[in-house]
């Protein structure tokens, strides 16, 4: 019996790393541009459909499709920020929120019109393979997805830590006025950031499409999930997002093992309420 729970927890943790990557995208956008990307899950769904189309048309493995999808999502994010969101950066919070709600509604239903309401997925030929570690059996796809998620996250951390552009973006986030004073092109950096966040969620979508089915209606649920992960982890903390993703993944899996899988989100919401009650700044967030 305990093996069953250990198995569930471990495969939940692997899925959780992909959730973490998804939430990283949201955290990056909010941390820098200070705009709430309420269309985050919808953008991920778009990326998932992208991976499905690439797999159908060119037999591309989603792990390979990550690259073109990330580039496509980067361009989408860049121009969304440049063309639409940038003029809203200084507007009140609820107005930005409404703008992205509108984008989200259009995306969800655009996907519904384009792909129909039925669930779709990608079949890779190793979908049913698994690895055995003692009494624990883990799916090959889940392990691959988790490793890829870690790799992309590591690349993101390295980008923000070491590259000049990454440092400039962090400067914008830390001190908007200061960044302008030293002559940074804030508008361009914001667009870059939105693009990077979108690319993040795009790669997360490519990985997730190997693990779950896709429907157009799922977008809002993933937006909410990404938000919960970011809040649980602590706004602005990238490691926090990854850690919270892991925890949420485990809690979802345990919900499935202990109760019914369809009630997994209830456990996630309960987690959110607990964090808001006892540690409102999030697990790794700084005290405000």
């Amino acid at each position: 019996m305990s093996d069953l729970y250990l198995n569930a927890a471990l495969s939940g943790a692997l899925t959780g790393l992909v959730y973490g990557l998804m939430a990283l995208g949201l955290s990056v956008i909010f941390g820098v541009v200070r705009v709430v990307n309420f269309a985050h899950g919808e953008m991920m769904t778009a990326a998932m459909y992208g991976a499905i189309l690439l797999s159908q048309a060119f037999k591309l493995d989603p792990l390979v499709a990550m690259a073109p999808v990330a580039i496509g999502m980067f361009i989408l994010g860049y121009w969304l920020q440049r063309g639409l969101i940038n003029s809203f950066v200084t507007r009140p919070e609820h107005t930005q929120f409404m703008l992205l709600v509108a984008v989200a509604i259009i995306l969800v239903n655009g996907q519904l019109i384009a792909f129909g309401p039925n669930a779709r997925n990608v079949q890779v030929d190793y979908a049913l393979d698994s690895y055995q570690f003692g009494s624990v059996i883990l799916d090959k796809v889940r392990i691959y997805a988790a490793i890829a998620a870690l790799a992309v996250s590591a690349a993101l951390f390295a980008f923000f830590r070491f590259s000049l552009t990454g440092k400039a973006i962090r400067a914008c986030a830390d001190n908007f006025l200061g960044a302008q004073v030293v002559g940074l092109d804030v508008k361009r950096l914001y667009a870059l950031t939105f693009g990077i966040g979108a690319a993040c969620v795009g790669t997360a979508g490519c990985l997730l499409v190997m693990l779950v089915d896709v429907t157009p209606a799922q977008g809002p649920a993933y937006t909410l999930l990404a938000f919960i992960i970011v809040i649980v982890g602590g706004m602005g903390s990238l490691t926090g997002a990854l850690l919270a993703g892991l925890i949420v993944g485990i809690s979802e899996a345990m919900a499935g093992a202990l109760f019914v899988p369809s009630a997994k989100s209830m456990f996630t919401f309960a987690l959110l309420v607990l964090v808001l009650l006892f540690r409102p700044q999030g697990l790794l967030g700084r005290t405000p």
Binding site: I105, L224, M266
Partner: protein, 350 residues
């Protein structure tokens, strides 16, 4: 009475009288189909007005108002179906339930100074939590019985994802006391409630409470510095808004006679509910009504045109909603009503 009409120019009074006069005689002017649309319009006008108290007046963005609609609907419907409790009595209980729920959400959020986006997410989380909870109601009661030994029969089964159904009504006689009857009766009930809500909101805005709310909305720190108990007045806003929304839920239950957690608690419902006030004009008195009158007929019109053209694609109506919202947010950030009011000088002299 005077507070309701003080400062309104004569032409606004006439416009208001003509508007409500037309609505009063509307059932004799339009066919059953248009009447059914008008019921929906008034429903959204009323629910939007209730939501507007929180966001428009006090500046607290709730994206989970379907929580209060759903709880109100389920409370009154379950009491009616299982125990034969009169819907108006059920409404009193429903108002109690949603007020407590609003208090819980508000307390959790405002106690820890959770505002803005965080608050909005919390409201969605509560609505979604409740939706999934109602979906699994039979399972949860069964699990409860397993773990604690409390018998399932003590809880009225809420139907779970299979839905809760009210006995279908005899449309030939109108029974206002039991809220069973023809659409025309529901129309007048909703019209009366919409007018009452409008008057009530006007009274609220002109009261001390209303001024406190607006102070909090504009600048919370400044309001607190002036000695306003920010926590208390935000709590009042969320509880009042939740209490008013309960009626929308009760109405929904008795008008449509069926309830599914998947539908009534859904995030889409919350968003549809708030589109009206935003498009009409956030924080204005007439905005929610105007928004409902613009949005629902437009959406139905689109559906009609598409059907006439022989196209039936799910999602087109919602894309249209999204585009409307986008255009309003980009080009009319304050909504339609302020523009109209200025153009036709319908507003109060400031």
């Amino acid at each position: 009475m005077s507070v309701l009409f003080d400062g309104l120019p004569r032409r606004s009074l006439i416009a208001l009288a003509v508007f409500f006069g037309l609505l009063l005689v509307a059932p004799w002017l339009v066919n059953a189909y248009v009447l059914s649309i008008l019921v929906v319009v008034l429903y959204y006008a009323y629910a939007g007005q209730s939501w507007n108290i929180m966001m428009g007046f006090a500046g607290q963005l709730s994206l989970g108002h379907s929580l209060y609609v759903g709880l109100g609907a389920y409370t009154a419907a379950a009491l009616f179906v299982r125990y034969g409790v009169n819907p108006w009595l059920g409404l009193v209980v429903a108002v109690g339930v949603t007020t407590v729920m609003g208090a819980i959400v508000g307390f959790l959020a405002f106690r820890f100074r959770i505002g803005g986006v965080y608050f909005a997410i919390l409201t969605i989380a509560f609505a979604e939590f409740t939706r999934i909870g109602f979906d699994h109601a039979p399972l949860i009661t069964a699990a409860l019985a397993d773990y604690t030994g409390i018998s399932v029969d003590k809880f009225p089964a809420l139907g779970g994802s299979g839905g809760l159904f009210l006995p279908v009504t005899n449309l030939s006689s109108n029974d206002l006391l039991n809220l069973r009857g023809a659409p025309i009766m529901f129309y007048y009930v909703m019209l009366a409630m919409t007018a009452l809500a409008l008057a009530f909101c006007r009274w609220l805005l002109a009261s001390k409470l209303g001024y406190y709310w607006q102070a909090i909305r504009e600048n919370e720190e400044a309001a607190a510095a002036l000695g306003i108990n920010v926590f208390r007045y935000k709590m009042i806003a969320v509880m009042l808004s939740a209490a008013m929304t309960a009626f929308a839920g009760v109405f929904f239950a008795f008008y449509y006679n069926n309830l599914f957690p998947e539908q009534i608690f859904s995030m889409n419902r919350s968003i549809e509910l708030i589109l009206g006030p935003i498009i009409g004009g956030l924080g204005t008195l007439f905005g929610p009504i105007l928004g409902a009158f613009v949005l629902s007929p437009l959406a139905d019109g689109i559906t009609e045109v598409l059907q006439w053209a022989g196209v039936e694609i799910p999602g087109v109506k919602q894309v249209f909603y999204g585009v409307c919202l986008l255009l309003v947010v980009v080009f009319l950030p304050n909504g339609i009503w302020p523009v109209l009011a200025k153009r036709f000088k319908l507003g109060r002299e400031q």
